[in-house]
């Protein structure tokens, strides 16, 4: 059982070049007797795998925070982490190989009646992709994503209309080479006063505050960005080219597109819908096969199944 109260702070052991005070503080925080720190870390790990913490207010375990939805689970995880030598990797393994992690997100009336907001994790909460995941996933299915690791931050194109809102528009944002523009969003330059509209729109964290939990809003402006925005159209075109490379026949290309965005075998009704769309774009709007395929990709990149994880 973990202690409820923090242990007394040990005394510092000065050395020739240090007062040893920070080390004493670090040892005190991570002391096996300090249950709070282990619970906080275990809760954080859980939050990032399961979508929310066992304590929902993961920045606040104090009086103004939320109570754990399952205090025994949290205590057990904290103890396990101690037992595993504080290894975060071991904790990831424990969490992602658990039965709870493998639960479906499908509804169950009997469970909903008892626990409507899923406090007890009887299912996996469906979630929208985060802002970074939205951009990375689009680049991934279009085939453009550059998975290079490390290095300086990059500057994907910023819409001119957004640059114009800066007090020095010409100096407000940098420029990266085409292969660097498509790096993972993790590497996109963070400027406090100028964030990419696609990312802000999908609830990227505010640049000024510690953000324990992201919002996941549903807004018409998100639809405008993904439907009309330059990035969406550019990547839809790129994805269409990719489908042309990946498969020969139109049907096979449509199937491939569906499979890329849904990560499951394409169903016949999905395919039929897209086949009909291509026919209409061709016959009624005079689009070439290549243009029609771009439109199909735009629709696919906007689909709920792409943006939400079951």
């Amino acid at each position: 059982m973990l202690a409820a109260c923090a242990p007394p702070l040990g005394s510092a052991a000065p050395t020739a070049d240090s007062t040893g005070r920070r080390l004493a503080l670090a040892k005190w925080i991570t002391s096996p007797d300090n249950g709070l720190a282990w619970r906080v870390v275990a809760n954080r790990l859980w939050q990032h795998h399961f979508g929310r913490g066992i304590v929902r207010s993961s920045n606040d375990f104090g009086r103004l925070g939320d109570l754990p939805t399952d205090s025994r689970l949290l205590d057990w995880l904290a103890s396990e982490m101690l037992t595993r030598g504080g290894s975060i990797k071991a904790m990831h393994r424990l969490l992602v190989t658990s039965a709870t992690y493998r639960m479906q997100s499908s509804p169950n009336q009997a469970c909903s009646d008892v626990d409507p907001i899923n406090d007890l994790f009887w299912r996996f909460d469906r979630r929208r992709l985060t802002a970074e995941e939205v951009r990375d996933s689009i680049l991934s299915v279009s085939g453009a994503l550059n998975l290079q690791v490390g290095g300086p931050t990059v500057f994907p194109p910023m819409p001119a209309a957004v640059l114009a809102t800066a007090s020095r528009p010409e100096d407000a944002w940098g420029k990266s080479t085409p292969d660097q523009e498509v790096r993972r969003t993790l590497y996109v330059h963070t400027k406090r006063s100028l964030q990419m509209p696609l990312l802000v729109g999908f609830d990227q964290a505010d640049t000024d505050n510690s953000c324990p939990v992201r919002f996941a809003t549903v807004q018409p402006t998100q639809a405008l960005t993904l439907w009309n925005g330059e990035f969406a159209h550019q990547e839809a075109a790129r994805m269409a080219k990719r489908l042309e490379r990946d498969a020969g026949e139109l049907d096979a290309r449509l199937r491939r597109g569906l499979e890329l965005v849904t990560q499951r075998p394409a169903r016949d009704d999905d395919l039929a819908r897209l086949q009909q769309l291509v026919a209409e774009l061709r016959d009624e709007f005079g689009k070439s096969d290549a243009e029609a395929l771009q439109r199909v990709c735009l629709v696919l990149l906007n689909s709920n199944e792409f943006l939400y994880l079951d």
Partner: protein, 445 residues
Amino acid sequence: MNRVRHPSLDGPLAPKAPHFPPKAKAVIFLFMYGGPSQVDTFDYKPKLYPLDGKTIEISTKGRGGSKNQGRVVGPKWNFRQYGQCGKYVSDLFPHLARCVDDMAFVHSMYADSPLHGSAMLMMNSGRILSGAPCMGSWVTYGLGSENENLPGFVVMLDQSGGPISGAKNWNSGYMPAVYQGTVLRSQGEPILDLARPEGMSDSEQRLLLDVLKEQNHAHLRGRADDSNLAARIASYELAYRMQHHAPEAIELAQESEATRALYGMDDPRTADFGKKCLLARRLVERGVRFVQIYSGGNHNDHNWDAHGDLVLNHEKHAGDTDRPIAGLLADLKQRGLLDSTIVVWGGEFGRQPTAEYAEGTGRDHNSAGFTMWLAGGGIKGGTSVGTTDELGNEAVERPFHVKHLHATILHQMGLDPNRLAFFHAGLDQKLVGVERVDPIRELIV
């Protein structure tokens, strides 16, 4: 106290009941970025004229640091009395001067910072550090929007660019991004990504949207308990409607020549700001809660920051905006909208009575005393509240902090400034801060 821990995310902009019956339904904030000089505009200081050129003992604090003496720059314009209230207004504002009976002046404003970046944030969000939601965010958070086809908080920037710190001045900080201000352009595509891409007709778009909808409905089967999925389907229809409504809101074809002239749109000099003022009226008519228009952007003399040549600077910015603002007040009044719309005018601070440099008429920043005015929305016209000292340097009588101005605006909108809170980082955060702040009672009818 209503604590919002996990704000409802279905329809965060749905109209919400105010705390008490509101006087105003909308705010139009005319932001004179850079800091207009109070003693050259609305704060009449006759004793300052004869001191022109004399060096006097005076305590000032600006971008040039703290000083204990300075060379007086006498006001560069004459003041005359106007209206029933007999308000003195400088010759910079011949049109606005005729509206003084509808305006209420606060001459004793003060703020925490005499530097643009932090002072802008304070005027917009109540704090000198970035990260807090702006007033427009608070108002839309507190009241929702009356028109879901338009953003609730709209910002129009100067042609020369945005203000310092850009989007931080209309950011929603720790609130969801839905409450952030939307930059509306008065020409071309009004809102980012609103227009269909080139080569896509309305009917083609409709076809694609219908296929998307079908696909999303197929996905919804077996997941119908998830309201987010349905909300996302609906958001595409909302976006589709916005594509029609937002351009309509900025389409001025139905406005008569007389109306355009009222706003100064017949003169190239005032046409741009006039158009923005007219757009503000159209947005307010359509239920937008908070409209902010910037006079001045970018740096130096592109805004009211008259460090060099005061006359050149203020003639330009006052000249560009005087007729449009007077037109806005008159138009709101003749349409019966002024009663329910608060118009706010001012910058992030004012300017010093003394010169910044050894030569010239430029004045440095001054956050110790400056003037703002309000009109409409239950604000008592023809009123003047508070004073600065006889040189216009510092608020002395009834000093009001920026948060009192904020409290007044929220109060007129039917929101209790001491109750409107958002729980963040262990605190019920408020626009006016945690300590009780009362509105400026003298301004209220």
